[in-house]
Symmetry: C2
Subunit: 232 residues, 2 copies
């Protein structure tokens, strides 16, 4: 009976947030208050809050208080990274799946972007492409800026999440072999197609970009297989 209560303790806290109409950023009741409201001990409350924190539903600020969170998607980053790393075969398969999803999303979005992108944004994209050779973060900013005009927060966070996970496990794929100039050229092709308001051209350029990414993964699969023969 207590077990059922404990399992729904997180849900009861969530329900409490909804009942009180607490918006993201609002201050949560303190732990003693929650102990009283939920009829649970400090430890149980703390464990429930920890779980909610891991999901981004609450945010804890040390020595200050607990706040309602915005539940951003990047809370999934550890989980997705773990997922890729624990799949058999070094998770190359899982990584391929992840890149495939990125490709579907981005090729599906780029079409509508081509219709109404501003000159200012195109210039900003140009700047990011040139910065891409030195700064890896420019690549992330590029893919984010690209879809900002969609006014879809979920899409932006999804793409950011997948980018983060990929580039976190990417070093484990072995030596790059990719010339940075090729990556830059792929991205420049995308911008050029957008400048010409060529939606299908932009889609094709995006597919070329991901073709190279997937080729890197395929090479890594062979590389890891060979390395796997010899114990590390």
């Amino acid at each position: 009976m207590r077990a059922r209560t404990r399992e729904t303790l997180q849900d009861r806290i969530i329900a409490l947030i909804h009942e009180r109409r607490l918006a993201p950023g609002a201050l949560m009741p303190t732990e003693p208050q929650l102990m009283d409201l939920l009829g649970a001990s400090r430890n149980s409350v703390r464990e429930a809050i920890r779980a909610l924190q891991a999901l981004g539903i609450v945010e804890i600020r040390h020595g200050f208080g607990t706040f309602v969170g915005h539940a951003p998607l990047d809370v999934l980053s550890p989980s997705l990274t773990f997922r890729v790393r624990t799949r058999p075969g070094h998770g190359v398969r899982a990584l391929h799946d992840l890149v495939a999803v990125r490709e579907i999303l981005e090729t599906g979005l780029i079409g509508s972007v081509a219709r109404d992108i501003s000159e200012a944004r195109l210039a900003a994209l140009d700047a990011l492409v040139t910065a891409m050779e030195r700064d890896k973060e420019a690549d992330r900013a590029f893919h984010s800026l690209l879809y900002e005009s969609c006014n879809n927060e979920l899409v932006l966070q999804l793409i950011g999440l997948f980018w983060d996970v990929y580039h976190e496990v990417e070093p484990a794929l072995g030596p790059p072999e990719d010339r940075a100039s090729d990556i830059v050229a792929n991205h420049r092709r995308i911008v050029e197609a957008l400048r010409n308001r060529d939606g299908s051209g932009a889609q094709e350029a995006m597919r070329l970009h991901f073709r190279d990414v997937k080729a890197r993964i395929a090479r890594a699969e062979r590389w890891l297989d060979e390395a796997g023969q010899q114990p590390a």
Copy 2:
């Protein structure tokens, strides 16, 4: 300093899983063992494990043990649902974003499905469409079965996740107004296009399906605005 240790405690447990090459389903060290390995108290260990459980990285079975988890995407379901519910304006905007992502994913995938779908699978889809009038779950099964041939576990879980979140919040949208026959007709059109190996036709049918879903959300937005005038 202790605070930093605590924040990395989850990471240290994850690192421990990787070092020991523990695969999903494997038995984790017990809490006393983790206390010893990590040099932390039981409460700290438990809180870290709770957070990992919320992310699907470990699974806890009361009275038995803790196991390495599979980190399925549906751990995000509470977070995404919360996100939609706490957005201002009853989260209709967030729900629209979610459906938009579903549309991009499914229209992007359906093209490749049309090329190599088997007759057996088409028959199964037919059966699900007819079952759709009575059983809501048939709709979920339909969209899952549709993309099974992609061999992309991540895609399947993503689509399932979005379906779950949408249908969990959907009742709050007010009276349906949708004739179930329309939904069935939309799905039947998709299957017919697939049977004809018509990829772009299937894409168009999928877009029609989501056009109706988005129309329902738009109606709900007006409905909730009117209802919002009068305090509930």
